[in-house]
Structures are given as structure tokens and as C-alpha cells.
Assembly symmetry: C2
Homo-oligomer: 400 residues x 2
């Protein structure tokens, strides 16, 4: 592949000849349209057209995965599946994430040629690394700020997710810090509601964390959920920074690419990316976007952490998928020299000491945030014992 082309890999399902369906996709997403238009010269197609680079046939099905697809006239249709690779000249759009979305994940999902279409992966030319600052803290910067060298950041999520006021939240943070925790995050439902205003929560929580740091030298990292409009997010970031906080959190799907990117360009703190709503993109095998493609958008936009669920989680995601997602976060997007845009995967949902060894074995790395809820808060001997149990389990895992 030419180094200045954008590449995307798709799973497709079509009743039409696969090469023909793939060409329609490439045309619709570049210089073509349903009919050949006068201005579409050979020179223009050569310069701006998307190219189908490969088609690898898979299985077939007598029924379509999604409604609305067409089929050629004649015999009863057979729906063939394939993985295809398509490339675009980066000059069509320039290195722009919002326009990348329109190009690789735009109108193509509605094409009649397809009874299933999923974006599996994409490879971006170096132009994107030049145009975007990418993750500022990532693994090393987060470890430095949290004061955690080898083990995962042992963390938890404030629960109940929503409904506590700033004072009650701070009281819970007091217990957690006393218990020796490294990392705490707001729930994704808690940003700046009138019952728990952001500024008051930052004030109350940071008072606890700063006093704890003064006593012990350890600044527990708290990811304050600042999700909101662009100006709100910038202001809230400044409030966290001024109060001595070390992390902000954003719901990436709610803020969107331009929102997260605007936050990144303003931020002096690690950005904890929450992927709530990800299931809408990746839960169906027949439509949407795989985590592999999804997380690349957010890494370029500049998040430092991104959620991946955890082993034996309470959601519908398989362990294989969780580990594959975490590996993706730790896999360079760009070759040396220069930043590789790796980030820290966040394990959560039903995590306890029991998953530590399996997680380390499967991932082969301790570069992660390990967020336990009930595993720490529900420990029979209290929060301190819960944190100690999880940390010990990770110590043992790393020791083999």
C-alpha cells in the first residue's frame, strides 16, 4: 500500500458479485455515484478514486443478515461474505478525523448492495500523526502521575453511579484513599447534574486527595467526568487542574470526535476515555465498526485511556474480545520514529482479585487500569482489605 493512502478493511455480505459490490462501495465513497457523471474523467478517477485492493471470500448464507438489501434478478439470492480492503488517497480529505469518519464509515452502510457491512480495521498514513497531537500521557505519563511503576493501577468506580452529592462522594473517596487505592473514576452517568455539580465535586474530592497526598506523598488519580459541551469541558478541565487533580474523563461517543479533539488540544491532564455506547457500534457482527477500528479514531483524537471491559465481565463481551481490545490499545498505530499513539486499556465490570492472573497471562502486560467495584467495595474485611487483595493478586501474577 502506498504510504499516503488511507486503508480500511470491511466484512461485507452481498447477493451481488463481490467484486461488483466492492466497486460500488469504493465509488460511492470517492469520485463515483450511481451513474457516471460527465466530470468524472479517467484522470480524476485515477487521482481521487478509492481502490479495492483485495477481496477474500468467506462463507455464504441463504438469508440476508440485515433487511433492505437488493439482489440481482433471477435465481434465489445467495448472500456471500468476504473481507475486503479499500484504500483512498489522503489528499481526498487531508488528515481530518471527522472527515475520515465520513469517508470510511459514512453512506456506505446504507448501500443496497450490502446485507451486512462492518468496518473491521483501518490504517492511517503518517499525515494523521503529523496533524494530531495524539495521547499526551498514555502509559508512561499516567504511571508517573499516579506513582505506580510496575503493577496495574488498582482502581474503582464511584457507586452508586448517580445520586450522591459532592460531600457524600468525597466521603467515599476518603474511605477508598485510606484503603490504598491508586485510581478512582466517576461513573459515566455523573458529570454536572444539579444534584452533584462538577465544580463542587472537584472541590470536595480534591480536598480529600490533596490532604491524603500531603500525609502520604501519594496523589490518588481521580478521573473527573467532565463530559459536556466544548466550552464546559475546557472550563471543567481548568477547575480540575487548578485543584491539583491529575485526570479528566470524557464519554467519547457523547462528546464526539471534534469535541474530544478540542478537549485534547486544551488539556494538560491525562484523558480517560469512556466508551459507553460502544455496543451500538460493535455488538452486531453484521453492521457497524469493530473495536479495532473504533479505538483508532479515539487514540488519534487524543485519549490516554480507553475502556475494554474485563475478563468474565457482566456484559455480553467474550474474554477473547476483551483481550484483543486491550492488545489493540497497546499496539503502536505508527512506526518509529515518533509517537506511536499507544494508550492504557481500562479493565472494568465485575473485576476482582480472581481475574488478575488470567488477565496478565492473556495480555502479557501489566500496563492497564484494573477497576474493581464490588471486588473492592464489597470485600468482607473492608475496602483496605479489598485493595490489598487485588494488589497482592497482581503481585503474584507478575511474579509468575
Amino acid at each position: 500500500m502506498s504510504p499516503n493512502r488511507i486503508a480500511a478493511r470491511y466484512w461485507i455480505e452481498s447477493a451481488f458479485p463481490l467484486a461488483q459490490a466492492a466497486e460500488v462501495l469504493a465509488g460511492e465513497q470517492s469520485s463515483g455515484t450511481f451513474v457516471r457523471v460527465p466530470g468524472e474523467t479517467e484522470e480524476l478517477r485515477e487521482r481521487a478514486g478509492a481502490r479495492v485492493e483485495s477481496i477474500r471470500e468467506l462463507d455464504e448464507s441463504p438469508t440476508p443478515s440485515l433487511p433492505g438489501a437488493g439482489a440481482p434478478p433471477g435465481a434465489p439470492p445467495v448472500y456471500r461474505r468476504a473481507e475486503i480492503s479499500v484504500t483512498w488517497p489522503v489528499e481526498n480529505l487531508g488528515p481530518s478525523l471527522p472527515n475520515l469518519m465520513a469517508t470510511v464509515a459514512g453512506n456506505l452502510f446504507e448501500l443496497k448492495q450490502f446485507s451486512g457491512l462492518k468496518l473491521l480495521d483501518m490504517t492511517l498514513p503518517d499525515d494523521f500523526r503529523q496533524a494530531y497531537p495524539g495521547p499526551a500521557f498514555a502509559v508512561a505519563g499516567t504511571r508517573r502521575l499516579a506513582g505506580v511503576e510496575r503493577l496495574p493501577l488498582i482502581g474503582t468506580i464511584i457507586k452508586p453511579s448517580i445520586g450522591m452529592n459532592p460531600r457524600e462522594t468525597a466521603a467515599m473517596v476518603e474511605q477508598l484513599t485510606a484503603g490504598g487505592i491508586d485510581f478512582i473514576k466517576d461513573d459515566e452517568l455523573q458529570s454536572d447534574g444539579p444534584y452533584c455539580p462538577f465544580a463542587a465535586r472537584v472541590h470536595a474530592v480534591m480536598d480529600v486527595l490533596n490532604r491524603h497526598a500531603d500525609r502520604t506523598g501519594k496523589k490518588v488519580m481521580f478521573a473527573f467526568n467532565l463530559t459536556g459541551e466544548v466550552d464546559q469541558m475546557r472550563l471543567r478541565h481548568d477547575q480540575v487542574l487548578a485543584a491539583g487533580g491529575t485526570c479528566v474523563m470524557v464519554s467519547v461517543n457523547g462528546a464526539g470526535l471534534a469535541g474530544v479533539s478540542a478537549l485534547r488540544r486544551h488539556s494538560q491532564l491525562p484523558i480517560h476515555g469512556h466508551r459507553n455506547g460502544w455496543g451500538m457500534f460493535d455488538r452486531s457482527p453484521a453492521i457497524g465498526m469493530s473495536y479495532r477500528a473504533y479505538q483508532k479514531f479515539w487514540r488519534v483524537a487524543g485519549v490516554d485511556h480507553l475502556h475494554v471491559n474485563g475478563l468474565r465481565n457482566k456484559f455480553c463481551e467474550s474474554d477473547e474480545s476483551v483481550i484483543a481490545s486491550a492488545r489493540e490499545c497497546l499496539t503502536p498505530m505508527f512506526p518509529p520514529p515518533g509517537p506511536d499513539f499507544t494508550i492504557l486499556p481500562v479493565f472494568s465490570s465485575g473485576q476482582t482479585a480472581a481475574q488478575a492472573a488470567d488477565t496478565f497471562r492473556a495480555l502479557g502486560s501489566a500496563d492497564l487500569i484494573f477497576a474493581c467495584g464490588g471486588g473492592i467495595m464489597g470485600h468482607p474485611d473492608g475496602i483496605g482489605a479489598g485493595v490489598a487483595a487485588v494488589r497482592q493478586a497482581w503481585e503474584k501474577a507478575l511474579a509468575g
Copy 2:
């Protein structure tokens, strides 16, 4: 429903008792979690908990629509479908679109209780109307700027979508304006690529449109695709405004809620919302978000126009779905007094004079943009004849 609650309606599919599955959803998206946590008092649940308001059972299936779902132990599972309504106190989040997304369309898509889950609709309390400016131009403002009183705005899309430079684009605009067109838009693939830079395109195109306006008194509306990062969008908006342009266009999924909202708060021009990527949300009946729910996010964010495809379009969307979508755009989101956030639906994809009468009959309104590509550009007697044919067809449709 209480006036200060957010309501959402979902299609669900579950092997678990429906009431139980619905309660899990309500809990996960508010004060609950997988286990009852100490701080979740009755008072807190009463104040912050989401409520299942209704469950209407539909059909059932022996197989799950999506993989990954659980089932109760015992007999082979049956997957029951239902429409449910869930409400939240607006105090949980405040009137914030990015946080609304996390609340009504967040982690719930991954819950093991569901083998299918789609957000069908939502109703927002007046707080959102107070917090967001909403569409600034909508139907009346767009008609005023375009100088079109009764008929739809007859429009087209620059084709080839991508690959022409500013000079070539302006030459095409020259032909279209000479042909008497009301509205032209960039393709969603064309924003600010190095081959057709935004500023140069605005300069070249507005030179044509301004000269045409000087001669004829008619300022053709051109929707310049300014999709990009927040600061880029603001700058590009200012370039369009300074050059005398009357519309900007944004790919809403690429920019995201905070991005579109930031553009709206800066903008002095109608915002043409392009929904490319919408198929990812709505094409599957088993996962995602219906257009009815989807368009409400973007109306509150402040777009003035939003795409709906068109009758007998070249994509996979049915005519019923197209008309229902267009009706949604024209249906008030809030009761009087105050702005109702209605917007102008944009018909496109395979539109010609042949669809005018059917569109008017089905929609019962001419408040729309009618964007024809081949129907105008491919007319055997030239562009002027193509525009005239479409306009005449609409005149006849309105005359009955």
C-alpha cells in the same frame, strides 16, 4: 410522565422475564449496578433511579437477534420482544446532550439481558429547550435566505463528489445557477482536502454566486461542507460569512454532538446537517437508534436541515421510512410557547421530477430541500431544462 423527566422508548429482546430485564436496564443506567451497593439507599433510588413506566409485549423468537446474550438456566430459551418506556429525572445529568447520550444510549447496549435493544424515541423536558439555542433558521429562515416562498428548495449536489479543484467546482456552480437552481451542496466527502482547499473553494464559488445575485437578485444557497475540528469549523464558517455565503454543512456523526453544538453557538448561518453514517445506527432492527430518536439529538444541537433520503432512493431505505423521517423533522419537539425546534428535511438520492407529486402527497408539505443529482445534471436538454422540469413538477404537485 412528570414534566421534568427524560423519557426513552426502546425495542427490546430478552430471554429473561421482560420486567426483570427492563429493571436491569433502568438500574444500570441510573443508581443501580450488578450488585446492590451500600450507598444505594431507598431515598437515593427514589430520587435518582430510572423508572420503567410501561412494557408492551410483542412477538417472540426461538433464536436471538444478536450474539452474546444470556438466558436463564433450564428450558431452551425463548426470546421475547417488547416495547418499553423508561424515564429519568433530568436532575441526574442536567440538560446536556453528550450526557443524555451516555444516559439513554450508553452501556445498556452491552447488557447480557438483551439479545436486541434499539432506542426508538425520546421525549425531553423543557430544560433542554432552555439550555440549547436549537435551530436558528429552520424552515422560515432558510426560505428567507434562499428567496423561495412556497415550493421546496430545488437543489443538487456537486458531482463528482470529490476530485475537482475550486475552479472546476465554480465552473459547475456557474452552470447550475444559470440553470435557475435554488440550492447546491458540497458532497460529504469534500471538506478541506489539499486538492480542493475550503477557503479557495469558498472564494471561487461565492464569486460566481455573488455575481449571479448582482445580476438577478437571487442569492443561490450553497451549503459549504466545513466538517472538521471545532476551531477549523468556526474559521471556515467565518470565511463563508465574509464571502457572502448563506449556508454551511456539517457531517454530524463525524463532528459529534459537542462539535455541532459548538458550531451552532458560533454560527450566523443555517447549518445543513449531513447524516452520513446513519446506517450504522439504524439499519439493523436489533441494535442502535431509530431516526426518530437520532434526529432529536441533532435538532437540539442546532442543525437547521437534516437528510432523510428520498422516495425510491438508491439506498436500502424504504419509502415509508423516508416519509416518516421527514415528518419527524417537521414535528415540534416542544409545545408552545417558544421555539419548537422543527427543521427542514433534505430529500436526496435518485430524486427527479418523477418523485415530486408522490413526495408531496405522502408528506403533505413542501417544506423541504429536494436535491436531485442526475435528475438535473443528466437532463437531455441541459441543466436549465432539468431544473425547470423539477420545479414544474412541484408546481403541479402543489396545485393538486
